[in-house]
């Protein structure tokens, strides 16, 4: 038994903001204070802030795309700190920052075995991955057949055979249209091959996720990412959901308008006005940080657009029976007007949005930069003066084409914990994480209060994962007690031969080899129940 004594608790889900109390830990969980204690390891937390462990809702950390990205950056990636880390480095870097649960943003079913090999190297963390479904041939066939039962069973099979946590949609249909040498125009354009529209795909999958009772709703990368003027199509996609729950990822990249000269400007204010009223929607920011980054996405249309805009070399892979993936190195520079607008737009979005339990901190790693820069972003959110100093260093477009300069709001510690822990836990349906209540998993990060918030959030004095000390004063203790989080909705196994027949039409594999095979062993698997 461990007792964290007398810390100042920042625990939004239990409405505790600075309450001084003890936290008792036994068998990996937070427990009530015992009446009689034979023995407890007491840790003096009286000068610390005690908060639940951080939860990463959207980061590209595993899979073939990471392996290819490392080879693609052979020279750049040899300098330290490197952008494209190995799984072991990612494991350690998240824990060092106080994050205890992480989710990979896009796992290809065809390549899921590689993703899981990587996830198996991150044993210090609770971790999971979202299964890509929006271009998967069997899924699109079921949507085309307008057969919602067939669709649900197909999705459940896919989640099970990939050990996925949620349904990931990436610019739905983009793999098909890109192959067919066309592009997605609007939500209602018929897409190549299937003649389905994006609206139909998104609605069908959002309804399916809801009726399957998945703990996390559809996780959606919308269309037109990065393009000036895209805020309108983004808001149309939000409205298209007709009140269904969804999580929209890296939305900074959709908050762009055009100024009277046609240049990119922030449309964060317009977007916030449309999205803040819908309580069933959650978002993550996808803020950028200055320095090297890598576009890593299944949105091949986006990669091609970036390449044609002059962003240089790219690589990618078309995947049979589903979409594809692409990579393109990026550099966000302070003196580059587009980078400056993107940086300011992300902060403006986070500062204008009223509810930190619905908009979370991410950099869409590695797309917006390294996740290890979260402490720097938090510092900007907590300190208006620091923001102004940074604004003075970057291209003037960040002031003239964005609303950031005039915003005075500063995040409180409570709001930072909402944004990095409580909110993501709720959005992911992880009831025993993201808080410090009795019964919660003992995932805890403690900070020594400092005026330098970047330093404070970079170096928690203590990180506890599943009841064990993982980090103490910067020292990493490898415990390997993390779990693989997955869902397992029920499905009719009698349908398997029909699914496999369909699969055979679009893949060159015997269907038994698709996804993870039955014999694949996952250490420490935890099934999160469906509602």
């Amino acid at each position: 038994m461990i007792c964290l004594r007398g810390g100042k608790l920042i625990d939004p889900l239990n409405h505790r903001d600075g309450v001084v109390d003890d936290i008792w830990i036994q068998d990996g969980r937070i427990v009530a204070a015992p009446e009689n204690v034979d023995h407890a390891d007491a840790i003096d937390a009286s000068s610390w802030l005690v908060t639940p462990g951080g939860i990463e809702i959207h980061s590209h950390i595993v899979g073939t795309q990471m392996a290819t990205a490392r080879s693609f950056s052979l020279e750049e990636n040899t300098t330290s700190p490197r952008l494209l880390m190995t799984p072991a480095e990612i494991n350690r870097a998240y824990l060092k920052m106080g994050y205890t649960t992480v989710f990979d943003a896009a796992m290809s079913p065809l390549m899921s075995r590689i993703a899981h090999t990587d996830l198996d190297r991150m044993m210090g963390l609770d971790r999971g991955a979202y299964t890509l479904v929006s271009d998967q041939s069997c899924v699109l066939k079921a949507i085309k057949n307008k057969n919602s039962e067939e669709l649900k069973h197909t999705l459940a099979w896919l989640l099970e055979c990939t050990r996925g946590y949620a349904l990931k949609l990436v610019n739905p249909g983009v793999g098909l249209t890109w192959r067919a040498l066309s592009a997605i125009g609007s939500l209602d354009d018929p897409l190549a091959d299937t003649q389905l529209t994006q609206r139909e795909i998104i609605l069908a999958l959002a309804e399916a996720a809801q009726s399957m009772g998945l703990p996390h709703p559809i996780h959606l990368h919308a269309s037109n990412l990065g393009q000036p003027g895209n805020w309108k199509s983004f808001c149309q996609t939000v409205k298209a959901l007709e009140g269904l729950p969804a999580h929209f990822c890296h939305i900074q990249f959709y908050c762009y308008g055009k100024d009277d000269k046609g240049r990119m400007r922030s449309a964060a204010e317009e977007v916030v006005e449309i999205i803040s009223d819908n309580p069933k929607l959650t978002f993550d920011a996808g803020e950028i940080v200055f320095g090297p980054a890598m576009a890593m996405t299944c949105d091949l249309q986006l990669i091609e657009w970036l390449h044609r805009m002059g962003s240089g070399k790219w690589t990618g892979r078309l995947l049979e029976g589903e979409g594809g993936m692409g990579l393109l190195p990026l550099q966000y520079a302070k003196k580059d007007p587009s980078s400056a607008v993107q940086w300011a737009t992300g902060l403006e979005l986070l500062l204008r949005f009223p509810d930190p339990e619905r908009l979370f901190l991410t950099t869409d790693y590695p797309n917006g930069g390294p996740f290890t820069d979260y402490p720097r972003i938090i510092a900007w959110l907590m300190d208006a003066e620091l923001r102004q100093r940074m604004l003075a260093q970057v291209h003037p477009a960040a002031r003239t084409r964005c609303g950031l300069e005039k915003i005075e709001r500063e995040y409180s510690l409570f709001e930072v914990v909402q944004m990095t822990s409580a909110g993501p836990a709720k959005a992911l349906g992880l009831q025993d994480r993201g808080h410090l209540g009795i019964g919660a998993q003992a995932d805890i990060r403690c900070y020594q209060p400092q005026s330098d918030k970047e330093a404070m959030f970079s170096n928690p004095v203590l990180v506890i994962k599943g009841g064990d000390i993982a980090i103490r004063e910067g020292e990493y203790y490898s415990r390997d007690n993390g779990r693989l989080l997955a869902v397992q909705p029920a499905w009719d196994r009698e349908r398997l031969p029909a699914i496999q027949r369909q699969l055979q039409e679009s893949t060159s594999l015997d269907p038994r080899f698709y996804g993870l095979s039955d014999k694949h062993q996952i250490p420490n698997l935890e099934i999160i129940p469906c509602k």
Partner: protein
């Protein structure tokens, strides 16, 4: 006699990794394999035989005794080098990296044998790729550059080319197999001039010159007509160095940039998981080849820690080869052994008889026959491989696990 059939068996004897084989067993022995290609037929029916003795001396050791010998030598070595080869599972390759880490040793992969030419060309240019199912279903024009896929991938053609509708074929420098339609455009190019040819093709494509041989002009016209094309690179092109590879990759990129069609590239890997060794090392260390572990951290240097340099300079006192390695490195080892007999120990953990004489060889189970694990298909698809017969030999994965435990200080 008991006859039993096993369907949907995956094959790891070349990097096509076919998943549609049927094995027929009589009692516990594999009697036949369908659809049999020359390689699968031979490998699956190899059965378990006692390891042949080495032709020119060396020691063949087995089981526990063998592990103890290797372990003792590894512990005693000052700067051991672990050479991670192909023909073994990804899991075994990973264990070989972990062994190097535990020892504070150097680790290298076949990628460095070509001075990282492919890796450097890929990193500088990038190349769009595709999986074999896309090649089968979507591609309308295929260029085979110096490939001999019938020899090393006997079922490649039957499974992935023109299954539904025949694509246009251009073959550069290889014998046309019977299956190829008459309409195939066959081109012979001098390998010594390959760099010049590729530069020429790029110049014409970009409209910067019109001076080009009729055959290259015809080739280019066919390429520009494609909706979806794929260039398939054989091992000899992959070995022709950075310059040729870079030009070839840029050519693909420019076809995409200038024309309306989509073009992709595919590397034909010979031995299964040979190219994957670099990915595995990179997964563990961030680097594809030539690393040395110092206090658990990997240091990368092709000038300091590549197998070739370490062996040439006589800096390593023990080479442990895990799996099959590149002929060029074999040559370096052989030279070294000839010139400096006794200074460097050369030990092998593999199922196949080493081509040159090691000081010690521990024969292990054959991946794809009596050892399972993951195989990486040539397009990057991971395929789980199950063992199809029993064996008395030690498995490579198990041997490496025991070595990792055994070298613990």
């Amino acid at each position: 006699m008991n006859e039993r059939r096993e369907r949907s068996v995956a094959c790891a004897f070349c990097s096509c990794c076919c998943t549609d084989l049927e094995l027929v067993y009589q009692d516990r022995c594999i009697k036949s394999v369908k659809p049999a290609c020359s390689i699968a037929g031979r490998e699956f029916s190899a059965g378990e035989s006692d390891p042949p003795s080495l032709k020119r001396g060396g020691v063949v050791i087995s089981g526990q005794k063998g592990l103890q010998t290797i372990c003792a030598e590894l512990r005693a070595a000052k700067l051991p080098l672990i050479l991670i080869g192909g023909g073994i599972s990804l899991e075994s390759q990973r264990s070989a990296v972990l062994l190097a880490k535990k020892l504070g040793a150097c680790a290298d992969t076949p990628a460095s044998c070509q001075s990282l030419a492919f890796a450097r060309a890929f990193a500088e240019s990038g190349i769009p790729m595709l999986t074999l199912g896309e090649l089968r279903d979507r591609v309308d024009t295929v260029v085979f550059w110096n490939t001999d896929q019938n020899q090393i991938h006997p079922r490649f053609w039957e499974r992935f080319i023109g299954v539904n509708r025949p694509p246009r074929i251009i073959s550069v420098n290889f014998e046309i197999p019977e299956q190829i339609p008459d309409s195939c455009l066959h081109i012979s190019l001098d390998m010594q001039q390959m760099l010049a040819h590729l530069i020429q093709l790029r110049l014409v494509l970009r409209n910067e010159t019109q001076q080009v041989s009729p055959v290259l002009r015809e080739m280019l016209a066919t390429l520009r007509d494609a909706h979806c094309g794929c260039m398939i690179f054989g091992e000899s092109l992959l070995e022709s160095g950075y310059g040729v590879l870079f030009e070839a990759f840029r050519f693909i990129q420019e076809l995409n940039d200038i024309d309306k069609g989509r073009w992709f590239g595919l590397m034909l890997d010979g031995e299964v998981n040979s190219a994957a060794a670099a990915d595995v090392l990179s997964l563990e260390t961030g680097y594809p080849a030539a690393v040395r572990f110092i206090k658990d951290e990997a240091e990368f240097s092709t000038t300091e820690w590549s197998a070739k340099r370490l062996i040439q300079r006589g800096e390593t006192d023990l080479v442990l080869q895990v799996g099959q390695i590149d002929a060029r490195i074999q040559k370096e080892i052989e030279n070294h052994i000839t010139n400096y007999t006794g200074k460097m120990k050369y030990m092998v953990l593999d199922s196949k008889t080493p081509l040159i004489q090691p000081s010690t060889w521990l024969p292990v189970r054959r991946f794809g026959l009596d050892e399972g694990g993951t195989a990486m298909r040539m397009d990057g698809l991971p395929i789980p491989i199950q063992p199809v017969q029993e064996s008395r030999k030690i498995g490579l994965a198990e041997a490496l696990t025991r070595l990792i435990e055994g070298v613990e200080p």
